[in-house]
Symmetry: C4
Subunit: 202 residues, 4 copies
């Protein structure tokens, strides 16, 4: 077992890179292939901007929550490292699913729904991994930092895990009907987490 400092540093690095790679999904229209003005070509790219903002907020909130969970942790063992790695594996996939969703968002047909399903499924997988990490730590009080109440942490497992999981299952259902609505749902969930966090901070 060891101190969580380097695990946090590595995770911070991965999260910072994943969030920054989102910019690669914003593509510059090639000069001589424009139909019409650049302004209209950029306006046409709004799904990419909407997906960028949403995924940026989501990864930002993952970082805030990751930060909050690791403040509870005093020691990391190998299973914690492995669960954290699985979580990061889902987060790193987000720039890919974001690009996929923005490419097919307005397609209208089954392909748009496929893209929305993939986007939501990766978010659900991320939520599961986060719940797994939290549950594992909560059930092994020896891993908790000094001064952290094991009973309170344990009592919050269900709340911590269930909300995210249920919300992302809901987005999977919405994805079956409408990709744009699914993106709106992810944006609203991200805002909910921001405001909930801000309210808690009050």
């Amino acid at each position: 077992m060891s101190e969580p400092t380097r695990t946090e540093a590595f995770s911070d690095g991965v999260l910072a890179i994943a969030v920054t790679l989102l910019v690669l999904d914003l593509r510059v229209p090639v000069k001589n292939t424009l139909h019409g003005t650049l302004a209209s070509a950029l306006a046409h790219e709004w799904p990419a901007y909407a997906a960028y903002v949403t995924s940026f907020l989501v990864i930002g909130i993952i970082w805030v929550n990751h930060h909050a969970v690791f403040k509870l942790i005093g020691q990391v063992d190998r299973i914690t490292l492995f669960l954290n790695l699985l979580l990061l594996m889902t987060v790193v996939a987000i720039p890919f699913t974001t690009s996929l969703l923005s490419e097919y968002l307005l397609d209208g047909g089954p392909d748009a729904r496929t893209a929305a399903l993939v986007y939501s499924a990766v978010m659900l997988a991320m939520s599961f991994c986060f719940a797994g990490l939290y549950t594992y730590v909560a059930r092994h009080p020896v891993l908790l930092a000094e001064g952290v109440d094991p009973v309170a942490v344990r009592a919050s497992i269900v709340r911590f895990s269930a909300v995210g999981t249920l919300l992302y299952i809901a987005t999977l259902v919405i994805a079956l009907f409408s990709a744009p609505l699914c993106l709106v749902a992810h944006f609203v969930i991200a805002l909910y987490y921001c405001f909930q966090q801000i309210r808690r901070a009050g």
Copy 2:
């Protein structure tokens, strides 16, 4: 509330990646598609180099100022985290707007002005977010580090916020007339900040 160390580390990571991704805007001319020599093809790419240098300086200065602001901060709450996230969201977009501006800089027509407007608008948004972060921290003395004078910080809100905002609004106006001039304006602003900082350091 928590210590700002990990927020700084995450922000440093994002800023370091954003500034390094600028290199992806420097494109290698493909071997068999050259018209004329490589030297002339590279010389033709000067808008990309000019935009690279300008954006590199701008993000570098953002990092220096971010550093300076966080030296005032002793505690971060969730709203600080959220405002910081918004700021980073605008900075991460800079490699995209840089690429856009260098692609259309010499286009001459309305597309060049569109690219310059987008470049300036993202800088203005960045400036607003920075002003928002600074104002929030300045108005909540509990967040300030020990030994920092809350009155002095509060008194500097307008100066800190207004200069950048006015300068970037000016670039928006210039963008309506000339994209190359707009890039020059951004370069001069970056130099101004460098020298102002160096003078202060004297």
Copy 3:
């Protein structure tokens, strides 16, 4: 000689970026070039996902082991820095070999075996570099951290070095027969390391 903190930070950065760049190997099918549905196009890309998961685990385990080795180190000299640099050079190549393997995995012919050989050869090179780093540190007790038993570290050189080297030589042999089987072998090795680590942690 100096403390290993900044070497670890640099290595963490490189490992975090290498693992995150793996996402660039996940390509979004371009909208108007699809033959059939997006779902079938994505399903067709399964080698890319399999290679992503495998390489992510491998780099993750490299990070865990790097972490473990550096916990033994109290001082780094220039040779340690240089050996560490060689190790990082092989790790940074992994996103490239991953992309190569996923492009040619199902090709069936000699090209698939070439891709699998390159993938395995880079892993073997990584394993050699890791063994070299460990052996060098183990043979120079002055570099070990306080409280670390030099005899125990020295006694573990062969075990630490031989297992990885032998396993990756085996994947080279498998690559001569079947690329998909070779990827499975790398995945199993990664799982073996995960479980071995978890067992040790018990």
Copy 4:
């Protein structure tokens, strides 16, 4: 003035990303465009691998030297920050010049020499910036860390600055005759720095 910790962290981040982005210069041959086998296509790409190894070593050595210089520094002022930023600006350009050199290395004609000149010129600029940073710090003893001898630091300015500058000017001259020879020269210089460092460490 402030402590150099965060400047080092930011620089480490930029150097780690720049060195890792070199992998993007290693391109996977597209499946259906191969003339002959994948093995021969990869063998044909050897300039990219040679350039990758060389640039990786160069950036690695920059990192080692950056580390060494910052160990002398106790305080950073704004000019130090600015000079460090200029240095990073040249380093971040290295993945671009590496890609350029590997694309044109075997071209034989004037384009190969242009690419080698650009590669060497960026290295020379990097060397100048490093010399500038070192000279500035050496001439301002107030910036030095406790226990560092200002006289010794000052006495080493010429040695520190001149060697790199002269070596890189030599590569510029070589670039006028042969691009492959120029790459060999850069590789030899990198090895020289590695061995010189290792010798010093003995």
